[in-house]
C-alpha cells in the first residue's frame, strides 16, 4: 500500500482490505502550484514571449552602447562626433573606423551611438513628461468625475485635435531649433493619450473596496488617487509609456530628417539618414548604420511594448 493511500484511508478503517475508501475531502482544495503574485505572473508571461524578450535585450544592448560607446571610443582612439577630418572623408568601414566615416571625415561608429543617445533621450524624456502630466490630469479627471471630468475632458479634446506637427511649426518660429523645442512640442499634445488611459483606469478602480475603505478612514482625495489608485493602474500606464517611446524617437528622427530637429554637428539618426541618403549609391555605409539602428530600436521597443501589453492582459492567457 502506497504512502498516499494511507493518507486517504478514512478513520476507523480496519484491516479489511476491501473496505470502501471515502473520497478525500481536502484533496481538491490542496494548492499544488506555488502561488504567484500579480507581478510574478506578469514577469512569467513576459519571459515566455520570446520575441518581446529579444526586443528587451536589443533595447538594453542599444542603451548600453549609447551610454558607453562614444565615451570609451573617445578614450581609446580620440574620435569624437563633431571634429572634422577632411582627409579621411567617406572612408568605407575598416579597422580604424568600424562604421566608416561621413562626408566630413567624422567617425560613423561614434556618431551612430551618439545618435542613439539623443534618440533614446528624446524618447524617454517625452514619455516621462507625458507620464507625469497624464497621471495628474487623468487621475483628477477620473477620480472627481462629473463637472470636473466634463470640463477637463473638453479641454483635452480640443487640444487633441491640434496636430503636433503644427505645434512644431509654430514653436520653431518662436523657439530656437533644439532638442528642448522638439520635446516641448511633442509634450504639448502627447500627454492626452496617457491622461485618457489613466482616467479610464481610475474610473474603474475608484469604487473598489480598498478605495472606499481609505476614504472611510479619512484619507484625502489626492492620497487616494496617488497612493491607492495609480499603483493599481500601473499595468496600462506602463504599456502606454513603453509604446510612447518609439513614437517620440520616430518624431525626433522625422524632424531632424527634414532639417527641423537638432542641428549639425550634433548627431541625430534623422540628420545622418538624410545626409547619407544623398550619397546612398556611392557611400552606402553612411546611411546604412543609422538607418539600421533606428529601425532595430523601434522594432525592439514595439515588440517589447506588445509583449508587455499581452503580459498584463489576463485575456491573453490561454
Amino acid at each position: 500500500m502506497s504512502q498516499e493511500m494511507n493518507v486517504n484511508v478514512t478513520p476507523g478503517a480496519g484491516s479489511n482490505p476491501f473496505e470502501k475508501i471515502g473520497r478525500d475531502q481536502n484533496g481538491g482544495e490542496r494548492i499544488v502550484r506555488k502561488s504567484l503574485t500579480a507581478w510574478q505572473n506578469i514577469r512569467r508571461n513576459l519571459y515566455e514571449n520570446k520575441l518581446s524578450m529579444v526586443g528587451l535585450y536589443f533595447i538594453i544592448a542599444i542603451a548600453l552602447m549609447a551610454i558607453f560607446a562614444p565615451w570609451v571610443t573617445g578614450l581609446i582612439t580620440g574620435y569624437n562626433y563633431f571634429a572634422n577630418e577632411l582627409a579621411n572623408a567617406n572612408q568605407p568601414p575598416s579597422w580604424a573606423h568600424w562604421f566608416g566615416t561621413d562626408d566630413l571625415g567624422r567617425d560613423m561608429w561614434v556618431r551612430t551611438w551618439k545618435g542613439a543617445q539623443i534618440s533614446l533621450f528624446v524618447g524617454i524624456a517625452a514619455a516621462l513628461i507625458d507620464l507625469v502630466i497624464g497621471i495628474v490630469y487623468g487621475g483628477i479627471m477620473g477620480y472627481f468625475g462629473g463637472k470636473v471630468d466634463e470640463t477637463m475632458n473638453r479641454i483635452a479634446e480640443i487640444l487633441y485635435a491640434i496636430p503636433y506637427l503644427l505645434v512644431v511649426i509654430l514653436l520653431m518660429v518662436v523657439m530656437p531649433q533644439s532638442l528642448t523645442t522638439i520635446i516641448v512640442a511633442m509634450s504639448i499634445t502627447g500627454w492626452i493619450n496617457m491622461a485618457w488611459i489613466v482616467r479610464g483606469e481610475i474610473m474603474r478602480l475608484k469604487n473598489q473596496e480598498y478605495a472606499l475603505a481609505s476614504k472611510a478612514l479619512g484619507a484625502g482625495s489626492m492620497r487616494i488617487i496617488f497612493r491607492h489608485l495609480i499603483p493599481n493602474a500601473m499595468g496600462p500606464i506602463l504599456v502606454t509609456l513603453t509604446l510612447t517611446i518609439p513614437g517620440a524617437m520616430f518624431t525626433e528622427a522625422f524632424l531632424s530628417f527634414l532639417g527641423m530637429g537638432v542641428k549639425s554637428p550634433v548627431a541625430s539618426w534623422g540628420t545622418m539618414i538624410d545626409n547619407g541618403r544623398q550619397a546612398m549609391t556611392t557611400y552606402p555605409w553612411r546611411i546604412m548604420f543609422p538607418a539600421l539602428f533606428l529601425a532595430v530600436s523601434m522594432f525592439a521597443l514595439n515588440v517589447f511594448g506588445d509583449g508587455l501589453r499581452d503580459a498584463f492582459d489576463p485575456k491573453m492567457k490561454k
Binding site: A161, I162, L166, F257, G270, I273, M280
Partner: protein, 311 residues
Amino acid sequence: MVGYLAKKFVFMFVSLFLLVTTTFALMNAVPGSPLQSEKAPSAAVQKNLEAYYGLDKPITTQYFMYLKKLAHFDLGVSMKKRFVSVNKMISQSFKYSLRLGLVSIVTSVLAGCALGIIAALYHRKFLDNLAMILAVIGLAIPSMVLGPLLQYLLSVKISLLPVTGLKEPLDYILPTLTLSSVSIAFIARLIRSTLIEVLSSDFIKTAKAKGLSGHIIVWKHAMRNSILPVITYLGFLAANVITGSIIIEQIFAIPGMGKFFVSCITDRDYPLIMGTTVFYAVLLIASRFIADIIYALVDPRMRTSVGRGGK
C-alpha cells in the same frame, strides 16, 4: 447621433479657432519680418509694402482682417514670393499631395484588411505568422529608412521602378508603399485581433449552424463588426498620410505641399506659415470629423446610445 455629431462639430471649430488665434499671436510675437530682411528698400517702398500686407494697422485690426479673410478662404499673400497668393501656392502643390494621399489611404485600407482577414482566418497557422511578422516589420521600419531602401533596391540596383517623380502610374508604387507601410500594418493587426474575437462569438456560431457559407459569414457578419476599429483609425490614418507625405515628398522629389513645411519657417514667410498651418489643421481636423461621421453611419449602436451624451 445628430447631437453627438453637432457637439463634435462645435469642438472642431473651437480647436481650429484656438489654433488660428495662437498662430496669429505667435507670428506677431516674433520680432522682425521678411520685409525688413530684404536688401534695404527705400522708405517709401517699405511703407507701401507694409500697407500692402496690412502691417501698418493696429494688431487687433490685423487679427480681425485675418479672420475675415479666412472666412472667405483667403489665406493672404506670400511675403517671400511677392504678390503670389498663398492660396495659389498651396493649390498648385497640393494636387500632388492629394493624389498620393488618396492612393495611399485606399491602399492602406485594402491591403491592411486583406492581410488582417488572411491572418484571422488562418489563426495560428503559417499565413497568420507570416502576415503578423510583416506587420511588425511594417510598423517598426520608419519611412525615412524604408523609402531610401526601396529606392536603392528596386530602382537603383535593378532599375525596375522609377527613382523619383510622380507622373506615370508606375511612379506611384514606391511612394505609396513607403507612405502606407505603417498604416497597412496597423490596420492588419486591428482587423486580425477583432476578427478573431468576433469569429468566436455566439452569433457567428448561429450563422454557421444555419448553414451559411464561410464567405457570407466573414463578409456579412464578421466584417461589419471588425471594421469599426478601422473606421476609428481612419482619422489617424489621414493624419499619418498627411504628415508622412512631407518626408515621402522629399525622398521621392515630389513637388507637393511638404516643401513649404520647412521652407516657410526658414524664410520667415508669415502668411505662408499661417496658411500652411491653417490648411493642414483644417485637413487633419476635418478628416477626424469625417471618420466620426462614417463611424456613426456604420455602427447602429452609435445612433441610439451616444446621442444621449454618453462618450
